[in-house]
Every structure is written in structure tokens, then in C-alpha cells.
């Protein structure tokens, strides 16, 4: 990992995107166990239908986890000061999730040089998460 420097980045720069293969029921079952989010709406088709959905839907936090992975693929985790995730649409079985992010602000606070990123997770149909992260760089 070559860590970017504060000086090397400018507003508008995109960070390396992360493309995830289509979401499967198996992935959702694994995430159900790994995360502890046992809401049946993510893994039980009968339950999802009783809640008025056509099929199970992915956990929002699964895609938030992918967004965070895009960051830890880019900088050491210790550089991450905050990540805010707003879930804006559902992710369905078979959707491929793509994570992207770009620098929207450079600023200093305390002794730290910080960049603010706007990020999003999206499927072919919709933007599923609007996110923001603050990263400290040397």
C-alpha cells in the first residue's frame, strides 16, 4: 500500500473504486452470522414477503462494510477519523455493488491534516449509500 500524502491530493481526486460481485443469498447468510444482525428480512424469503417485499434485501451495513474496505485498501485504518453512512435505497439479490469516493475538502484541525471524502455505494439501479469520511494524512 502506497499511502497518499496530504500534499499529493487535491479536491476532486477520486480514490480507487471497489467493485463487488453480485450479492448472493449466501453472502447475506454469512453477513447475518458475522455481523450478528439476525433480522430475518435479509435471509428468510417467507418473512420478507410477509413484510411486503418481493424478496430478501441485503443488509445496508454489508455495503457500508465494503465502503470501509475501499478506505482500508487505500490508507491504513488508523488514518480514518469518521465514516458517516446514509442508506438511501435497498440492495437486492444479484445486484453488483460498486463503491466510489472523491476528495471534496482539504482542511487542518488541531495538529492534523485532513481530507473529507464523499463516497457512495451504488447498484446498477440505484445509489444505495451516500457516505462521507474524514481521513488524516501526513
Amino acid at each position: 500500500m502506497t499511502v497518499p500524502t496530504f500534499e499529493s491530493l487535491k479536491v476532486g481526486d477520486e480514490i480507487p473504486a471497489l467493485k463487488i460481485p453480485p450479492v448472493s443469498r449466501h453472502t447475506l447468510a454469512l453477513y447475518c452470522g458475522a455481523s450478528g444482525d439476525h433480522n430475518p428480512i435479509h435471509v428468510d424469503l417467507d418473512y420478507a414477503k410477509s413484510a411486503g417485499l418481493d424478496d430478501v434485501i441485503a443488509h445496508g451495513m454489508l455495503s457500508a462494510g465494503y465502503l470501509a474496505r475501499m478506505l482500508t485498501d487505500w490508507v491504513p485504518q488508523s488514518a480514518i477519523r469518521s465514516i458517516n453512512n446514509r442508506f438511501t435505497a435497498m440492495t437486492h439479490i444479484g445486484d453488483s455493488v460498486t463503491c466510489t469516493g472523491k476528495v471534496v475538502e482539504k482542511f487542518e484541525k488541531g495538529n492534523e491534516k485532513l481530507v473529507r471524502l464523499e463516497m457512495q455505494a451504488h447498484t446498477p439501479e440505484a445509489q444505495t449509500i451516500i457516505a462521507e469520511a474524514v481521513i488524516a494524512l501526513e
Binding site: A34, S35, I41, G60, L62, A64, R69, Q77, F87
Partner: protein, 146 residues
């Protein structure tokens, strides 16, 4: 409708061990392949006291400390009406396998939207390690569809 009396409700603090196997499972599910997330020897070689918990791990602690069904029952609702609106993380320090984290969660607001057809239940959670260091905070927005 969820009653506003729940604003200010503090859940009993819960102390949770950070389990190595769980961290590996989470990292694997998210496709995180760096050794510091999956291989205790690689973490040790990097000078870490244990596997590093991924950035979204505080959410796992949050949900282990308070199962969604218990939250929903407290509010007099059902799981099928619940959507996750927001999950916001602020980081103050790392979490490692072997840590013991105290999870303190409080309902800070309940907001009616669209003439009460949607309600937002906002919580704030603090994560404090065995050295009494606050390592993370989350702000969660639970959306209920009525």
C-alpha cells in the same frame, strides 16, 4: 406510533469480549484480505496486540449488546417495519482481538416524518475499552415505516 417517552432511554451497559474468530469471520465476509484482519501472526508481525477490528466492527458490538428484536420490542414495534437509516462512526482508537469493550447506548431522539408514516429513532453509542479509553462512537438512525 412510537412514544416519545423513550427519548433519553439508556440501555444497561454491556461488556463484550472481542473474539478473534468473529473478527476473522467479519473480515472474510467483507473480502478484507490484509493479514492484520485475518491472520494473528501477521498482526503480531505488524506489532499489533491482536487482529485489528474492521472499521464497521463497532456496529457488530452495538448489535451484540442489544439485539434488534429487543430494541423493537421496547419501542412496541415489529422488525418487519424497521429499516436502517444511518450508521455514523467516529473513531478515537483501534479495537483488537482480546479487548473487552463496554457498550453504552442511549436513545437520543425520536422524530416523526411524513405525518408520522415514518419515524426516526436516533441512538448514540459509546465503545470503551478495558483501559477506560473511548475507542469509538456511533450514531444510528433506525427508520420505522408505519
Amino acid at each position: 406510533m412510537i412514544e416519545k417517552k423513550h427519548i433519553g432511554h439508556e440501555f444497561s451497559p454491556v461488556i463484550l469480549p472481542v473474539e478473534e474468530g468473529r473478527l476473522k469471520f467479519l473480515a472474510k465476509t467483507l473480502g478484507m484480505t490484509q493479514g492484520i484482519y485475518t491472520d494473528p501472526d501477521a498482526a503480531a508481525a505488524a506489532g499489533l496486540p491482536g487482529l485489528l477490528a474492521p472499521p464497521t466492527y463497532p456496529f457488530v458490538l452495538e448489535i451484540d449488546a442489544l439485539e434488534l428484536v429487543d430494541l423493537v420490542n421496547l419501542l412496541g414495534e415489529t422488525l418487519g417495519k424497521l429499516l436502517h437509516g444511518e450508521e455514523n462512526f467516529t473513531y478515537h482508537g483501534p479495537i483488537y482481538a482480546g479487548d473487552e469493550i463496554t457498550v453504552r447506548k442511549k436513545i437520543t431522539d425520536i422524530i416523526d416524518k411524513k405525518e408520522g408514516t415514518l419515524q426516526f429513532v436516533i441512538s448514540h453509542t459509546e465503545f470503551i475499552n478495558q483501559h477506560d479509553e473511548k475507542v469509538a462512537e456511533t450514531l444510528t438512525n433506525y427508520v420505522f415505516r408505519h
